[in-house]
């Protein structure tokens, strides 16, 4: 049995694992997600232990579906947990805004994993505003240990108010590691039953107007809870007040000296009376929060309404940065608050260091796809409309197959736009999981509106970037349920596309030919480039590894392989190209691209 399922003891765990344990202790019966960093390990952990803990868990096809399904579970009286990365909330915003009107019966917690500094994201949007927008309560933990306890509190508050509750983490909570104390579950997952109540659950205009009033009442009740919440506390004494939340609290707590800290764990609605009392007699107040001045603007408003003149410093006064995540160095450089002194950092001589951006792995089938694609496009004026996944790494040389990127599924929709207004060749690139997520509606749009482009579905049989989670196309059973692979080709045809070819990218010549033909096609041409992710095979111990080597006698040192294929397993010693046997997985693509046939399998 996994240690996370024990009912006592201390464990060193990832923030995401602490959150799963919090759900188990809260008696969550239903959980859903679409994988997205930094929230992915929550799903991976639930996939592993959810079934045993009695939690129904699903990888939904996208975040909107995940929230809709969780809403129904919570409306049926069970505790439901749905979680996603920050941009996933954009996809799910539609059901969330109306669910706020309906409310729930069983507790429902919606986790948003924000990513300040955009470590693994396309933007660093601050999802605290979703709580203001939807009038839903919000909790924000500062450490993994606190996250575990706070999940349970979020469910209690959700049930008390009969309202879904946001739970906001950031990368430094999800991917922090800390010690948690296990305690037995408060309740066990149970079967639900949906009690009909059209006035609540069917928001036709007449009912929506009634529910709007109830939502405002719930929001006021939530404020009263916030005023007395054990997660909104004052620590320390001093004439300088610090108002903070989330991981920024840990930096303030450990580095600032002689300050009184108002730590906010329930950040929507804010405890307005508590804040007014806190700032009233202070000499000054500093608001320490990452990203937008969410707390700061509300503190300024509360001060004004209460006739309090205490100066408030933060982003609006230029003392705190608005971009990127905070760290102890940000706290140390504020300049207006005394901080713990540290030692002088080393200042080594400046050296030109090679960059090390994330790259496609050795043996990645996307590399072979891009090689053949680039060759087929040749000197044609082409626009590459790409999507969210490992293949976004095609932005790196030598491929540079990423000219435009917005969001999940965006490649296909954008390709339609390029096709409508330019004479350029348009190539859209999307992964298998992303295609199922939100790639299908824009494909129907393309055939409906007569667009012309090549869509490459790089089908590596997994949601690879986030940790190889299954999706409708994988046919991989998980969590105690059997699934059957949904084939992509018939789905593409059903969208009105006549031109579909499935190819194996490891066959470089065949792939190149398929792309050449597709580029000549008028209308939408779809190439499904299908080869499993070797990392996923490795995980399942299904990867048969052979190793290639370069015959230096045959090699003419043309360097076509390193320059045009650029596999991470290549390295150079002088003019010689060699293959790192620890990295090579034996895909054999290099042997296909070598003009002299110098690459061969090590016997």
């Amino acid at each position: 049995m996994d240690k996370l399922l024990d009912d006592s003891g201390r464990l060193l765990v990832l923030g995401n694992e602490a959150i799963v344990r919090g759900c188990i202790e809260a008696g969550v019966a239903f959980a859903s997600t679409y994988p997205g960093t930094p929230s992915s390990e929550i799903g991976n952990t639930l996939q592993k232990i959810g079934h045993e803990a009695g939690v129904y868990f699903e990888f939904s096809t996208n975040e909107k579906v995940a929230v809709e399904a969780a809403s129904a579970a919570a409306a049926s009286g069970v505790r439901a947990f749905t979680f996603m990365k920050h941009v996933g909330i954009n996809v799910a915003a539609d059901p969330i805004m109306t669910l706020a009107y309906s409310g729930v019966d069983g507790g429902m917690v919606i986790l948003t994993a924000d990513d300040p500094s955009a470590h693994s994201s396309q933007n660093e949007q601050d999802n605290r505003y979703y709580a203001l927008l939807s009038l839903l309560p919000m909790f924000e933990p500062s450490t993994p240990a606190e996250a575990k306890e706070m999940v349970k509190e979020a469910f209690r508050v959700s049930e008390e108010l009969k309202s879904p509750v946001f739970f906001r983490t950031t990368t430094r909570i999800n991917h922090a590691r800390g010690v948690i104390e296990l305690s037995p579950p408060e309740k066990e997952p149970a079967k639900g039953r949906f009690e009909k109540d059209a006035c609540r659950f069917v928001n036709i205009p007449a009912f929506a107007r009634m529910n709007r009033i109830k939502l405002l009442e719930r929001n006021e009740a939530a404020r009263r809870i916030s005023e007395n919440s054990k997660y909104n506390t004052v620590e320390g004494e001093g004439q300088v007040g610090v108002i903070t939340s989330s991981v920024a609290y840990t930096y303030a707590k450990e580095w600032m000296e002689d300050v009184s800290i108002l730590k906010l764990g329930m950040t929507n609605p804010l405890p307005e009376d508590m804040i007014a009392d806190f700032i009233r007699d202070k000499d000054m107040v500093v608001v320490v929060e990452e990203l937008e001045p969410f707390l700061e603007d509300q503190v300024l408003r509360i001060a004004r309404q209460n006739g309090i003149g205490t100066p408030v410093f933060g982003k609006r006064t230029g003392h705190m940065p608005r971009a990127f995540e905070y760290d102890p160095d940000v706290i140390s450089s504020i300049g207006i608050v005394p901080v713990r002194a540290g030692k002088e950092p080393l200042k080594p001589p400046a050296m030109a260091l090679p960059s090390r951006p994330p790259m496609l792995c050795a043996g990645c089938p996307h590399r072979a796809t891009f090689y053949a694609l680039k060759k087929a496009v040749g000197k044609k004026d082409a626009v590459y409309s790409t999507d969210i996944g490992c293949y976004t790494l095609g932005i790196q040389p030598p491929f540079e197959t990423a000219d435009f990127l917005l969001c999940m599924g965006g490649s296909v929709g954008a390709a339609g736009g390029f096709s409508a207004v330019t004479d350029q060749k348009v190539v859209a690139i999307i992964g298998d999981s992303t295609f199922f997520h939100t790639g299908v509606p824009p494909l129907m749009n393309a055939t409906f509106n007569g667009h012309s482009f090549v869509l490459v579905i790089v089908d590596n049989r997994a949601t690879a970037m986030t940790g190889h989670q299954p999706h409708p196309g994988t046919g991989r059973s998980y969590g105690g349920r059997e699934t059957e692979a949904l084939p992509i080709e018939p789905l593409v045809r059903a969208c009105g596309v006549d031109y579909v070819r499935t190819i194996d990218p490891v066959d470089v010549k065949g792939t190149n030919k398929a792309f050449k033909e597709a580029l000549e096609h008028e209308g939408v041409a779809v190439i499904v480039s299908q080869a499993p992710c070797p990392l996923e095979l490795k995980k399942r111990r299904a990867l048969v590894i052979s190793t290639y080597t370069v015959d230096q006698e045959k090699c003419v040192k043309c360097h076509h392989c390193v320059e045009a294929l650029a596999c991470t397993a290549f390295y150079r010693v002088g003019e010689e190209v060699r293959i790192d046997p620890d990295l090579c997985i034996g895909c054999g693509v290099c042997a296909e691209v070598c003009p002299r046939g110098a690459m061969g399998v090590v016997e």
């Binding site: 950092p345 790259m359 650029a566």
Partner: protein, 196 residues
Amino acid sequence: MRYCIQIAGVGGQGVLLASNVLGHAAMASGYSLAMSEVHGMAQRGGSVLSTLRFGDEALSPLEAAGQADLLLGFEPVETYRMLHLANEDTHIVMNLQPTVPVKVSMGAEEYPPIDDLVSNIRSVTDRLTTLNATELAIKAGKAVAANAALIGAVAGVKDLPIDRSLLEETLLEMVPARFKEINAKAFQLGYETVRQ
């Protein structure tokens, strides 16, 4: 008491395993503990950093620049990139085995000579210990035990507030049973390199 270990390396090298071993050993030593790791996109062969803070009270998963007590470098260039995390009292343990970035293989960028990296570090601190973890691991029986050699090297660092045998036990609990012996040997070789 407060102690901070920064671990710099390349995604896929085993930085996560090393920080996990050190973290469990710190927990078993009875310390309060906070760690941060890099997951996701940055793991695909990019630069990674793990931070480990422990002592009487550790809440923050990140440390300020210059405040590391120990900088463990899995790779020479990555160690150099993270030198600002160290001060002149920081122990620096550096693996000399380079992982060459693709852009270098493609001829677009250059990897600096290892000797230059070492001498430039020595020009600002006298607390650098170098080892070739891969060679030590091969000597122990298998290249994959390079990780164990580096953790052994950490165990050899003066004033490390974690017991050597506890660290070794924690490591051996976390590696596959069939590699225990090789890992124990690599740990010992790493330990000896630093102790000399």
